[in-house]
């Protein structure tokens, strides 16, 4: 086994690793073995021993009003500065990143950009969002002091 269980992303990269199975969660497993994998005619013709065949329809998820409200609320809860240079810089840098080719150059630019945002926001990242944001459920969050325009 060359790839073993979870290891920290080297050099601070935010990549969680799983070898599948229980470690990555049941939802993950379901996404693989219920939706994908071989399905062939024979399973219909051969008499199955009283076991139902499942058809899980591929759901086309269209952004709905619930989604809009959820994101509106998240946007409201943010602590924002007025639209300033910092925000623009990141967008510009992102543009540059998209167009840029070389991997090394790209990493450097973005790391710089992220640092800039960090400085700007001037709070340590006390809290990370959990990896899987549960959909509509609200988290009680401490109300933060609103900045002046």
């Amino acid at each position: 086994m060359t790839m073993t269980a979870q290891r920290e992303g080297g050099g601070g990269g935010q990549v969680e690793r799983y070898t599948g199975g229980g470690s990555s969660g049941l939802a993950e497993v379901i996404e693989l073995i219920l939706d994908k994998g071989l399905v062939i005619d024979v399973f219909v013709r051969v008499s199955l021993v009283g076991i139902e065949i499942l058809t899980i329809d591929a759901r086309i998820v269209v952004a709905s009003v619930d989604t809009f409200l959820r994101f509106a609320e998240a946007t409201n809860r943010l602590d924002l500065y007025g639209k300033g240079k910092g925000g623009k810089d990141l967008t510009e840098l992102t543009q540059g990143m998209m167009e840029g080719g070389a991997k090394g150059k790209t990493s450097g630019v973005l790391e710089g950009a992220v640092e800039k945002v960090d400085d700007m926001l001037n709070r340590g990242r006390e809290r990370r969002e959990p990896e899987e944001e549960p959909a509509p459920r609200r988290r009680p969050r401490p109300r933060r002091r609103e900045d002046d325009e």
Binding site: L26, I56, R59, A135, R137
Partner: protein, 77 residues
């Protein structure tokens, strides 16, 4: 007197309307309940609870099996 007469002569339609509404609500609730997308989102929440230790392993497994039952045996419409 007039009020009671009025009530007695009300057509049945609003009552049917209420029943119809209740059915719509129930259908929608059922749809949501059996929606694979929702079930999978709920499975992810269980996984979180497992990671944080909010629920015991047994509680998580029981919840997951319940969700799987729902996923695999939606009512035939």
């Amino acid at each position: 007197m007039g009020l009671i007469t009025g009530l007695l002569t009300l057509p049945l339609a609003p009552v049917r309307g209420v029943v119809w509404m209740a059915e719509q609500i129930r259908d929608y609730a059922e749809e949501q309940y059996y929606d694979p997308v929702n079930i999978r989102a709920e499975l992810e929440r269980v996984e979180e609870a497992r990671q944080t230790g909010e629920l015991t392993e047994d509680e998580c497994t029981e919840w997951e099996n319940e969700l799987l039952r729902r996923l695999m045996h939606p009512p035939q419409r």
